[in-house]
Amino acid sequence: MTVSAASTPNPTRSPPRITFAAASLYLIASTLLWVVGFAVTTFLLLVGVALSITPFGLWIIAAAISTARAFGRLYRGLVHKLFRTTLEPPADRTTSGILAWRRFLLSDGGSWMELAFLFIRVPLALLNLVVGVGLWIYGLLWTLWPLLRNWDDLYTRQPDGTVRRGLHPFGFWIDTLPRSFLVSVAGVLLISLAAWTARKLAELDMLFYRTIISPGRMSVRVRELERSRSYAVDDSAATLRRIERDLHDGAQARLVALGMQLVLLKDSLAGDSADADRLAHSRGLVDTAQQTAKTAIAELRVLVRGIHPPALDQGLEPALRTLAANGPIPTALTVDVPGPRPAPAIEAMAYFCVAELLTNAAKHASARQATVHVAVVGDRLHARVEDDGRGGARPRPGGGLAGLADRIGTVDGTVVIHSPDGGPTVVTVDLPTTP
């Protein structure tokens, strides 16, 4: 189950203001990060692939991807700290449990992208190292040349056999203290060049991330949206089909039956209805017809509640109170929705999620009681359903929990299921207050 993460903060699109110091620090830190990250991840990946014939292989590959994600996170943190600019992160995992962890990492496009980023940035990291760090080092060495020359041991044997100490670029001898200050000046120029280059390299890095990595993320996101949209369409078609079938087999059939019973009643009332036996027979038929009508009405009521609970018009809290009161197990409910009400579609989604989770708790987890907590914080609605059942709830393809997650995914919500074997189960649903 890979439900997209909560809405990503809008990445800052304007070019970041990069200071010399920040850029230089960035070059050094990011290069170090890449040396370590590349080494660790490559090592894990190689070990994982080598062991892929054993049960450990996939676990180690997942660990490699997880490591790549960690370094990606550090890298984005560094960029944010130094340049106050946000690079779009990959979607987070929304399930708990070690198996879900592995499944998520191995199947999540965004996570593989992190791994790819670690490798394809290597040439840029090398460029940073060679040009950025190299210019800095030489700039410093040259600037300090008037001091360093004392420890220098550059001797050149000249054609006339004499040995002369000092630098001689382009045939110009720099072997006196005043002349050594020329090197110092060149060093200062080199440092400014290093600073300028560092800025350009950092900008190039950002550009690289934004043009190669972010669009990759966007395409991953677009795929997620396409999947969730097609789910929404399928889901509403399935809902309509279910309603049609419920009506067909329920109220509609009962009304036809009621018609038949009335025909029988009419037959029974024809002729001399004063006959005691006939009268008793007619009364029996009326009872049956009455019962049929009652059942049809009750079925319609249940059906209507399944489409849209009338109490939801009053708000989420009254609707959830009704739900908890009529629910299959005793349920403690707290609702904290200050301020404006969430959008009707979100309220309905939250309601049906809670309803389904409570049904699951009673039916599958054999829970004796449940706690429901619903709160709106800022522009997010959180709903937590906790039960004391036997746990072990896992989203399975085509199963109820997977369907729930898919439905929530259609509005960019997330669901986190924590359900160790033996219980308790805690399911947290997070929805935007406007779809």
């Binding site: 079938r245 067909h248 087999d249 509609q252 059939a253 009962r254 036809v256 039956a257 018609g259 038949m260 019973q261 009335l262 025909v263 029988l264 037959d267 049929t292």
Partner: protein
């Protein structure tokens, strides 16, 4: 008349059995799914089978498929399809091999039990019983260019044609439209002429006109 019923909703199945019994009909068997229907017809050899279109397990068109199988096994058996909705596709499938001994009625028609029994009798005798709703939908669904003859019918002729398509006799059509039987015969003759159907023996022209009108031939 010996009848076998296939209807999966118990309350409707029981109601139908009671109603038909109250009208002196013999319900040889009332079953809930297609295999049981085939077995019951094999065993009881009824005059007519009343079949719900939606039967277990999938509740889609199991009844129609069972009807096709029954038609293959027992060409003389009357088949009355019975459903809560009219689907033009099923009606077309049903009439694909002609309208002999075929019926398609909405379940709610049971409430007019005498008309319903009348329709069953017609189907058992090799006639047709189509719900007015079925006729409307088929005419609508199969409307296409090149069927100019249907459009040349006068409003009265169209009314007569629709009732004829339902499977009514001339007397019933006359009664329903409150006109004389001679007038009905006159309209029908005019319809045959417009449909360019030469005189033949028996009811054959009538059947051809109906199928042409419904757009299934």
């Amino acid at each position: 008349m010996r009848i076998v019923i296939a209807e999966d909703t118990a309350i409707l199945r029981d109601g139908l059995v009671q109603l038909l019994a109250s009208r002196g009909q013999e319900v040889a068997a009332a079953v809930g799914d297609a295999p049981a229907l085939l077995a019951a017809v094999d065993e009881h050899r009824p005059d007519v089978a009343v079949i719900d279109i939606r039967l277990p397990p999938d509740h889609t068109d199991e009844g129609v498929r069972a009807a096709a199988e029954l038609r293959r096994r027992y060409p003389e058996l009357g088949i009355l399809m019975f459903s809560q909705y009219v689907e033009a596709r099923f009606a077309t499938d049903l009439l694909a091999h002609g309208s002999r001994g075929v019926g398609y009625l909405l379940k709610e028609r049971v409430v007019d039990i005498d008309d319903f029994v009348d329709a069953l009798n017609r189907v058992a005798a090799g006639g047709t019983a189509l719900d007015p709703e079925v006729v409307t939908q088929l005419v609508g669904a199969n409307r296409r260019p090149g069927r100019g003859e249907t459009e040349t019918l006068t409003p009265r002729e169209a009314e007569v044609m629709a009732l004829m398509a339902e499977g009514r006799t001339n007397a019933a059509i006359a009664g329903s439209l409150a006109i004389g039987e001679r007038a009905v015969e006159k309209h029908i003759a005019s319809i045959f002429a417009k449909f360019d159907l030469p005189p033949t023996e028996g009811d054959h022209r009538r059947v051809l006109a109906v199928l042409r009108y419904l757009g299934v031939s």
